[in-house]
Symmetry: C2
Subunit: 74 residues, 2 copies
Amino acid sequence: QRDTLARCRCQDEGTNVIHPNRIQRLEVYPPSASCPNVEIIVTLKDNRGQKCLNPESKFAKNYIKSAIKKRSAE
Amino acid sequence: QRDTLARCRCQDEGTNVIHPNRIQRLEVYPPSASCPNVEIIVTLKDNRGQKCLNPESKFAKNYIKSAIKKRSAE
């Protein structure tokens, strides 16, 4: 099982919380031939790189649900 | 309001449904200075390009919720 994870983008579960204001973009990768896990990769604002976000974390679930509920910022 | 939307990635609401098997990646852009809307951009498998997905569509909500529920494919 070890080698399958080697081709995943995230080598660990990822962080459980990221401050929403720091999030520029969120990428969700469904399970695929190259990686059996759902992976969420957050791109941080101000060119501060990327972080893996734990799809199981309460923050991830709540953040994504609120993002798809929010029609727009106005 | 027209010009604000001009800097959004999606120039219309986007499609309401995309067959899950065609989805390689999903990008969620929260509202930002450049675009007041939540935008979801799907990258299709087999280099078939990208599509805007309507964040308000039932499919988008269900697909994303199931993606973050599913621990992994096994």
